[in-house]
Amino acid sequence: MDLGTGLLAIGAGLAVGLAALATGWAQARIGSAGAGALTEKPELFGSILIMLALPETLVILGFAVAAMIILLLKAGA
């Protein structure tokens, strides 16, 4: 495996890893605020579930970028 391939693989890892960190950070903040809101208004469950699931798009897009890099690697191999 040459240096370029290795760097691409690290890039793929970073794409999904950093996106997952960002998602986790956002979900932690939304989750803690949502849990507080739910104790007072349980009827907000659906809305809070949506808000909690919103940042997951970040990691999904990170995954899409990582998948594209991996496919690029395979095409080059």
Binding site: L49, A53, L61, F63, A64
Partner: protein, 635 residues
């Protein structure tokens, strides 16, 4: 839905309300909220009715307290008939009956419940004393019982046991060697000590122990002054007797429950209905001689309402429909009416908000797509089958409520998981292939087929989001809303143009088609931007890209499914790597169980999210108020 106006002479109001409550098809609204077409003052309750309301409220609370003391009511076949009979009684009869029940059953139930609580508290306290005393008994056994001497037991943390030497010195000074201390480690953390000293020194010794902050083992008051040995024997005898006493008290409560619980529940429900009947009077409009009541109801129930009121009250009550504008109709309460197989999905829609009256109910679409997405993500024959078994057990346990609806939803999800399991050829990952040659009917999920999986997920996204936009366009046409029509149509065209351009870049379509694609994109963005005014130039393109983001969000169908497959593979490989087959099997089973649990939770949440965020936002007009008819509460 239709809004009705019920008018009658004031003397017939109570009978009318009783009939409406028994029928349970009308949601009574405050007459003053109807608007300028019907300006009437609300009916006020006179002193006698206010006093009756207060008394009924108090009786219902007392009946509820008494019901809580008795065992739960066993379901009887003729419960609804008995409830109907109780409902036919006059309010005065019900009040008198409630007073009688409370005076006859109340004191007996309260004294029995009190006795049961006392016995349980005594049992808990004696169990604690007994356990502690048993630990110090070996020390006490070596000490003779002497008249004129007092014995105390001490429990000291082992790390502070040096304090015993200090006590020994001080007792020596106090009693002049007329004392005995016997100490021993009773467990890893505690040292127990028995101290015997002359009774006349009791006050000084207790003061000393208090000063040194040492806790004494104090016996219950009734055993004070008794030797440890006697106390232990008494406690053991009492602990043996208490369960029998508690059981006898419970048996008496059970008998009392058999005698009274049914009648109590019936009275509670019937009086609760009367209370709501009185409270609703405050929403009724009044003239000098008549009452005017307005409320929402399903139009199909109108005929039955007229017949029921004519039979129960007579011709002095008139029912008529009110003419309402389109805006007023939007405020109508909502009752979802779906076919039976779709009904369990209604609560998933209501989790966000009910649709506004007259808007499209997305429940049937959710019933179609949500389990499909779930199966696409989980996609494993074994996991799907296990989910089916689990939900069948839940269905047998829960006969009603949200958990039953959720179980019914999960049954469909489990079936789709099995179907996609066969399509992907997965049974605990690739275990099915290696164990009995299960091959995919469509394509396997792995790194090799990643591109195909991603393309498929995006294709599903395009179809789902486009369907949402088409429904949105239809809704906008129905509502004659140009603004919404322009936005949704623009988004629809822009999305098609964007994918068109992507296909040209990926060399799936000829380059010659790029000009019409760019034109379509410009038209789409222009339509999208138009209703936004001067901000449209910035927000329009962002909205168009947002729609593309919505479609790409469906990549999660492939991504999460693939991660579930790889976790199953890790479990299988750990089994293969283990030197001990049993240990390998346990690890694999635990990991598969974890994967199944994660798979069920994440597949549910992700499929719901795709609906709530990506799909509903294209057409769903939420904000409906649930239809809450004025009805009997039932037992």
């Amino acid at each position: 839905m239709t809004k009705v106006q019920i008018i009658g002479s004031k003397g017939k109001l109570e009978a009318t309300l009783r009939a409406l409550q028994r029928l349970g098809t009308v949601e009574i609204k405050d007459v003053t909220e109807h608007g300028p077409a019907l300006v009437l003052p609300r009916m006020t309750l006179d002193q006698a009715v206010l006093a009756q309301r207060e008394e009924i409220g108090l009786l219902v609370t007392r009946l509820e307290s008494l019901g809580a003391l008795l065992p739960p009511l066993a379901k009887t076949a003729d419960l609804s008939r008995l409830y109907e009979e109780a409902s036919l009684k006059s309010t005065e009869e019900l009040v008198a009956e409630a007073r009688r029940v409370l005076s006859e059953a109340g004191p007996r139930a309260q004294s029995l419940a009190l006795r049961r609580d006392e016995l349980e508290a005594e049992q808990a306290s004696l169990t604690r004393y007994h356990a502690t005393l048993r630990r110090v008994m070996p020390l006490a056994a070596g000490i003779p019982e002497l008249g004129g001497y007092e014995t105390v037991a001490l429990l000291i943390e082992r790390r502070s046991s040096g304090v015993l030497d200090l006590i020994r010195q001080q007792l020596n000074a106090l009693t002049g060697d007329h004392f005995e201390i016997n100490a021993q480690h009773v467990d890893q953390e505690t040292t127990a000590a028995i101290v015997v000293f002359p009774r006349e020194q009791s006050a000084q010794v207790n003061a000393l122990l208090g000063r040194e902050n040492i806790s004494q083992l104090r016996l219950p008051k009734e055993l004070a002054g008794v030797s440890f040995k006697e106390a232990l024997a008494t406690m053991a005898a009492r602990l043996a007797a208490i369960p029998g006493e508690i059981e006898r008290v419970r048996e008496e409560l059970r008998r009392l429950g058999e005698e009274w619980a049914l009648w109590l529940a019936l009275l509670r429900a019937a009086l609760g209905d009367r209370l709501r009947g009185i409270e609703v009077v405050g929403q009724v409009g009044t003239t000098r001689y008549a009452f005017v009541l307005v409320g929402w109801m399903a139009r199909r129930d109108l005929g039955a309402l007229k017949e029921a009121l004519a039979a129960a009250v007579g011709p002095q009550v008139l029912v008529g429909e009110l003419d309402l504008s389109r805006e007023e109709m939007k405020r109508a309460p909502v009752a979802l009416a779906n076919p039976r197989p779709v009904r369990p999905f209604e609560f998933l829609v209501a989790l966000v908000a009910l649709p506004r009256y007259g808007a499209l109910d997305p429940t049937p679409l959710m019933a179609l797509f949500m389990p499909l997405f779930f199966g696409l993500i989980l996609g494993d024959v074994a996991y799907g089958a296990l989910l089916l078994i689990f939900t069948v057990l839940l269905l047998r346990r829960y006969r009603q409520g949200p958990l039953r609806s959720l179980s019914q939803v999960m049954i469909v999800c489990g079936l789709w998981s099995v179907v996609f399991g066969f399509l992907f050829g997965e049974f605990l990952g690739s275990f099915g292939y290696r164990a009995f040659g299960l091959k995919p009917l469509w394509m396997e999920r792995s790194g090799e087929t990643l591109m195909s999986l991603l393309v498929f997920a995006v294709a599903v996204g395009v179809a789902h989001v486009m369907l949402g936009l088409v429904l949105g366009i239809w809704e906008a046409v129905q509502a004659r809303s140009r603004r919404e029509l322009s936005e949704r149509l623009g988004k629809f065209i822009a999305l098609i143009a964007l994918f068109w351009l992507l296909a040209i870049v990926a060399e799936r379509l000829p380059r010659e088609l790029s000009t019409p694609a760019v034109v379509a994109l410009i038209v789409g963005v222009a339509l999208l931007s138009a209703p936004m005014g001067w901000l449209g130039g910035i927000l329009g393109p962002i909205e168009a890209l947002g729609a593309l983001g919505n479609v790409l969000s469906y990549l999660r169908l492939a991504a999460i499914g693939l991660s579930s497959f790889y976790l199953a593979e890790v479990a299988n490989q750990l089994y293969g790597m283990a030197t001990n087959a049993a240990v390998g099997a346990i690890v694999a089973v635990l990991l598969h169980a974890l994967n199944l649990a994660l798979g069920i939770v994440s597949s549910t949440i992700q499929s719901l999210r795709l609906h709530y965020v990506e799909f509903f936002t294209k057409f769903y007009d939420s904000g409906g108020e649930p239809f809450r008819p004025f009805k009997q509460s039932g037992v």
